[in-house]
């Protein structure tokens, strides 16, 4: 019951008729949840609230895009593979140290 009331209140706050400007509390509140939004971890009513806000606030829309791009770049950041010679040398060094103790 309490949850329903809370959800209704949040939807009212997300009324697209009220314009948001950067620095205003609504933008800041959404920005704090954007990773959870990107990762699909938020309840549907909060997602709806965020989508409504994004449609009404170009700054937040640009911001979320840049955060999504950041995550995508991190996911694709290349790593050089371990060379075969290093794989062999490391194993030898580990066993040598292990046996020495």
């Amino acid at each position: 019951m309490t949850k329903k009331k809370s959800a209704t209140t949040k939807k009212k706050q997300a009324n697209p008729s009220s314009r948001h400007r950067p620095g205003q509390i609504h933008c800041l509140k959404l920005l704090r949840q954007l990773s959870a939004y990107i990762d699909g971890e938020l309840p549907s009513d909060i997602c709806q609230e965020i989508r409504s806000h994004l449609g009404d606030c170009p700054n937040c829309e640009v911001f979320i895009l840049s955060l999504q791009q950041t995550v995508i770049l991190c996911r694709h950041r290349p790593v050089p593979p371990l060379k075969s010679a290093d794989r062999v040398a490391l194993r030898r060094a580990i066993l040598k140290k292990a046996i020495a103790k």
Binding site: R32, S35, N59, Q69, R77, P78, L90, I94, A98
Partner: protein, 205 residues
């Protein structure tokens, strides 16, 4: 798994493959990749791999299979990394404040990263963008870097990251969000470009 691991015989370099060798062979590439992502360069990554598997060798007889082997190794590597970096740099650990990472001006909100119309692979061929990404990740305090690497690069679930780092899921998500905001700010602050530059995938420093 526990009983199999208890049969571990003292390995010698010339021996037939045993449990340690199997562990090493199956996971060394995974741990090297993780180590490289944490350290940002090859020699430190190799040191971390060595330290991780040495500790794993010593702890293998006590491993009871309560976690996956990869989770266990990630945990050993993470702890070893914290010890190594502390020893080498004595770097102070600091917290990332959400208030400092959230933009307050319209200009900050609208900072962009020049990757539109490019695949991530194409975008990362841009040397400047690659360097900016590497530097941003390297500049993260290590406990934030670890969460970012484990979650966004190694692709682990928040729960598993929490197991590795001894955190609850909420703390993992909080650190992840701060780490992403930090990297986003570092990248976009270097990527303020006009529309023409944007289309060419250019990046201003």
């Amino acid at each position: 798994m526990a009983s199999a691991l208890k049969k571990l015989s003292p390995p010698l370099p010339s021996q037939e493959p045993d449990e340690f060798d199997t562990l090493y062979r199956d996971h060394v590439d995974l741990i090297y990749r993780y180590a490289h992502r944490l350290c940002g360069e090859t020699e430190s990554a190799k040191d971390l791999v060595q330290e991780t598997f040495l500790n794993a060798y010593r702890g293998l007889k006590n491993f009871r299979g309560e976690a996956r082997l990869s989770t266990w190794l990630y945990t050993i590597a993470s702890r070893a990394c914290l010890r190594m970096r502390r020893k080498r740099k004595g770097e102070p650990e600091y917290e990332l404040s959400l208030d400092e990472l959230v933009p307050t001006s319209e200009g900050e909100f609208r900072l962009q990263i020049p990757v539109d119309e490019l695949t991530p692979e194409e975008a990362l061929q841009n040397k400047e963008l690659r360097q900016a990404l590497d530097q941003a990740i390297d500049a993260l305090p290590k406990k934030y870097r670890m969460v970012l690497v484990l979650r966004d690069m190694e692709g682990l679930q928040a729960k598993e990251v929490g197991t590795i780092m001894g955190l609850n899921e909420r703390a993992v998500k909080s650190r992840l969000h701060r780490a992403r905001l930090f990297v986003r700010r570092e990248l976009s602050a270097r990527g303020i470009i006009d529309e023409n530059d944007h289309k060419s995938g250019g990046l201003r420093s």
